[in-house]
């Protein structure tokens, strides 16, 4: 078989049963792989009323037909679960090299269900699969447990998916990693993995991916890789990592300062990629087959954290436990916090989000040191932030409350409804470090409707409004409007989000890195169709390619609808709708006074999606068009139920 391995691995940790299930041509054609396979399993095997920590819940790891091939950036894996943070659909995507290894071992997907009686890890050695004792590994940071497993199995070249202590402690936003540092950050997949008593999946793959047309594949891969050599976005990312965005964010007013009260700060450059490269960059790193290599490896070289090293940070890693908490003066404080979230295995975005929300509650007198166990949660207090990350990872003290996520924490503390204004969440998940009053109106729209809990830059990753200006003519070619490349305009944004969400979803099904097709647009949809067909020997068209993504988005949307989440929840934190962007001492900030005009874009977006604007449910017509007849049947009785519930109850912050 070309491209795919042709089978998935299912492991039941309760019974110890290990099965290999073949994947039919029809299934592979309809869902392609990665996020597509995972979302299909989630929709059909994890019912809406199930607790995410129920042993019967699934966690899926999906690779795609492109995984392990020579196309640009093919190491990625999608990890999918019912999110303990939001209660709804959750997934995250990690780079590294484990995805290629899983494919070489002979699997397109791994499904874990059940719960082991004690901590275990899985050892996948090609077709031999074994459940092994992990009690000696439980409690260990990934950077310690990874070499232990390699030594135990006698092979230092294997690749390992792993959770940290936060996942073991079921912190609701714990994450998963592979190759120690490569995080699948969001939606709490690490907590679900931990709830199953699974520490790691060690993998050795000695197979290869068969290519239908090797010559064609070599030609297209070569052409794309030559293009990357001079690609402007690649150059910036390679030189300075995703931290190359810091100074841009500061200028365009999306730098999240003090829990998004401001969009810039005079000292932002302290945590920029340029500063990082000059002071603490040890190595540049690349995921499997990547022509960009935006990864960082950091070594803190002075101050009280001197000697600490870690993989990362990314922009979205450094910003939440740094500037969002008011910390920027000593960048080593920020790098140290990044290492901590790696060590514990915490979603840095959610962790920093919870802390900065608590800081704003503290600022506004909603909580005091009585609630925080003595911690002075003032913005900029690096010591308190650091202590709190430890507490969250260990589920101790005030950290144990924040470990529930900011919205649940507000309720647990008995705070007034006002507290939810400061959690900066949609559907219970907090915003990444991108203030939609600056980046941008398209992003802002996709935060409202994103299918893993909103407030999520990676559902559309509509970089047509971020890096689009570096590719003159691209916005015209795709949207018919070059002015859409500006972030603070509604021009073309409803269509932009529709297009980019579909494109991103299919990209996640192939499981190639979206940095090659968003941010950098060196790879466009026709190129992806070309390499997909060269690998698989099939005849996908550009329409079919985009349609798969549309199908996946609608399926995930329907999963939320089953949880009674729809149009009423399609919003962004009120701060962005109500508070005009203020100044903060940066005289070149470009978006002073901006608010997000969500309601100017959302109705049109529903039309593009063919979703009913009252419920926010996909219409029956749309679901049938996408081959989702079973989903149409599921949603039929729920439409009126949603309307009547939406009228009666308050907005739900999480399911």
């Amino acid at each position: 078989m070309y491209g795919w391995a042709g089978q998935r691995l299912r492991v039941d940790l309760t019974t110890g049963e290990i099965t290999k299930e073949p994947l039919s041509y029809e299934y592979r054609r309809k869902w392609i792989g990665g996020r597509g396979f995972n979302s299909e399993v989630m929709y059909n095997e994890v019912p809406a009323n199930m607790d995410p920590f129920d042993p019967r819940a699934r966690v899926c790891f999906g690779t795609g037909p492109m995984s392990g091939t020579a196309a640009p950036s093919t190491g990625r894996v999608t990890v999918t679960c019912k999110s303990p943070l939001t209660g709804g659909f959750g997934d995250s995507n990690m780079g590294g090299h484990w995805g290629a290894e899983v494919k070489y071992a002979g699997y397109d997907q791994i499904i874990i269900q059940g719960r082991a009686k004690h901590p275990v890890y899985l050892w996948i050695d090609d077709d031999k699969v074994e459940i092994r004792d992990a009690r000696h590994l439980w409690g260990k940071f990934p950077r310690d447990a990874d070499p232990m497993i390699k030594q135990e199995l006698g092979d230092e070249d294997i690749h390992i998916m792993m959770i940290g202590p936060a996942g073991e402690n079921m912190v609701r936003f714990a994450c998963a990693f592979n190759d120690v540092w490569r995080a699948a950050g969001r939606t709490g997949t690490g907590a679900v993995i931990g709830s199953k008593n699974l520490k790691a999946i060690a993998t050795r793959g000695s197979g290869t991916v068969k290519i239908a047309d090797p010559k064609k594949m070599m030609d297209v891969c070569n052409r794309l890789r030559q293009a990357f050599k001079t690609d402007p976005m690649k150059i910036g990312l390679n030189m300075f990592g995703s931290l190359c965005l810091i100074n841009v964010a500061n200028r365009d007013g999306w730098f999240p300062w003090n829990n998004f009260q401001f969009g810039s700060h005079p000292l932002a450059n302290n945590v920029s990629g340029e500063s990082h490269a000059e002071t603490v960059l040890k190595h540049r790193e690349g995921c499997f087959a990547c022509p960009i290599a935006c990864g960082r490896f950091t070594e803190i070289r002075d101050g009280k954290y001197a000697g600490e090293t870690f993989g990362g940070p990314e922009y979205e890693h450094a910003v939440p436990t740094g500037p969002r908490c008011g910390i920027v003066e000593d960048p080593n404080d920020v790098w140290h916090n990044c290492r901590l979230t790696n060590d514990y295995g915490l979603d840095a975005i959610e962790c920093g989000g919870a802390i900065s929300s608590a800081m704003e509650w503290f600022q506004r007198g909603l909580i005091t040191t009585k609630d925080t166990g003595g911690l002075e949660l003032t913005f900029g207090n690096a010591d308190a932030t650091e202590k709190l990350i430890h507490q969250i990872g260990q589920r101790k003290g005030f950290g144990a409350i924040l470990a529930e996520g900011a919205d649940r924490a507000a309720d647990k503390l008995g705070l007034p409804k006002e507290a939810h204004y400061y959690t900066i969440t949609t559907r219970g998940m907090t915003l990444p470090g991108d203030d939609p009053r600056g980046l941008g109106f398209g992003y802002g729209l996709s935060f409202a409707v994103g299918t893993r809990g909103g407030c999520d830059h990676l559902r559309s990753l509509c970089c047509l409004e971020l890096s689009g200006a570096l590719y003159p003519g691209l916005n015209t070619k795709l949207l018919g409007d070059e002015s859409a490349n500006k972030p603070v305009t509604t021009n073309g944004k409803s269509y932009m989000v529709y297009y980019e969400e579909n494109q991103k979803a299919t990209t996640d099904c192939l499981n190639v890195c979206c940095f090659t097709t968003h941010w950098s647009y060196a790879v466009l949809t026709p190129d992806q169709v070309e390499y997909l067909n060269a690998v698989t020997g099939l005849d996908f068209t550009e329409e079919e390619f985009q349609e798969v993504g549309e199908r996946v988005v609608n399926l995930e949307r329907a999963y939320w609808n089953k949880h009674m989440s729809g149009a009423r929840e399609d919003t962004v934190p009120e701060r962005f709708l109500k508070e005009p962007m203020p100044e903060n001492g940066v005289d070149y900030q470009t978006n002073i006074g901006a608010t997000l005009p969500l309601n100017e874009m959302l109705p049109q977006y529903y039309k593009y999606r063919d979703w009913d604007s009252k419920t926010g449910f996909p219409t029956e017509r749309k679901l049938k068009q996408l081959g989702l007849e079973n989903v149409a049947k599921d949603l039929a009785p729920l439409r009126s139920k949603y309307l009547s519930e939406a009228e009666k109850k308050n907005v739900k912050y999480y399911v």
Binding site: G68, A70, D144, D146, S206, I211, R225, H283
Partner: protein, 166 residues
């Protein structure tokens, strides 16, 4: 005869991306995988260290010296040893003799396979062509060492300047 180009490796700037590995496998074998690649990347994940292991183009190559059938022999035009699969008996002596571990046995044939500098490829070896960071470069040792000489000199000058200021 002018100096032949070799593959020059710089582990300090290797990103560990394995673009070289996957490109080599696709180019030579028409399938993608580490096991059919003639170049390997060795990583220490927790320390972020990457090492390129590939043919160093030895002049008095141990791999050719130990071969009992002459299958592994120097190609004087290319400037690198090559394995003739028809003569190879799969004894693994060349793989054991290589000081770098740059020779492997092919999973399909059991015979030795190694780097051949992508003979016939206009753009030169795939690994050097696709390398993101220049950790693999395809150049003459003279050019490579000139670059190294200046790099090391600059480091010494920088350190001396810091010493003066300190």
């Amino acid at each position: 005869m002018s100096e032949q180009k070799k593959l020059i490796y710089n582990n300090e700037i290797c990103t560990g991306c394995r673009s070289c590995v996957v490109g080599c496998s696709l180019y030579h074998d028409g399938e993608c995988g580490k096991v059919v690649s003639r170049v390997a990347i060795v990583r220490n994940e927790q320390h972020g260290e990457s090492y390129v292991v590939g043919c160093d183009g030895c002049t008095d190559a141990p791999c050719a010296a130990v071969c009992p059938t002459g299958a592994c022999a120097m190609d004087p035009v290319a400037g690198i040893t090559k394995v003739d699969a028809n003569k190879c008996i799969g004894c693994k002596e060349c793989a054991n003799a290589c000081p770098f571990g740059a020779i492997n046995m092919h999973y399909k044939t059991g015979k030795a396979f190694k780097c051949d500098l992508c003979e016939g490829r206009d753009e030169g070896p795939v690994c050097a062509d696709w390398c993101v960071s220049g950790a693999i470069s395809y150049e003459t040792p003279t050019i490579a060492m000139k670059g190294k000489r200046r790099e090391k000199l600059n480091e010494r000058l920088k350190a001396a300047k810091v010493g003066e200021e300190g």
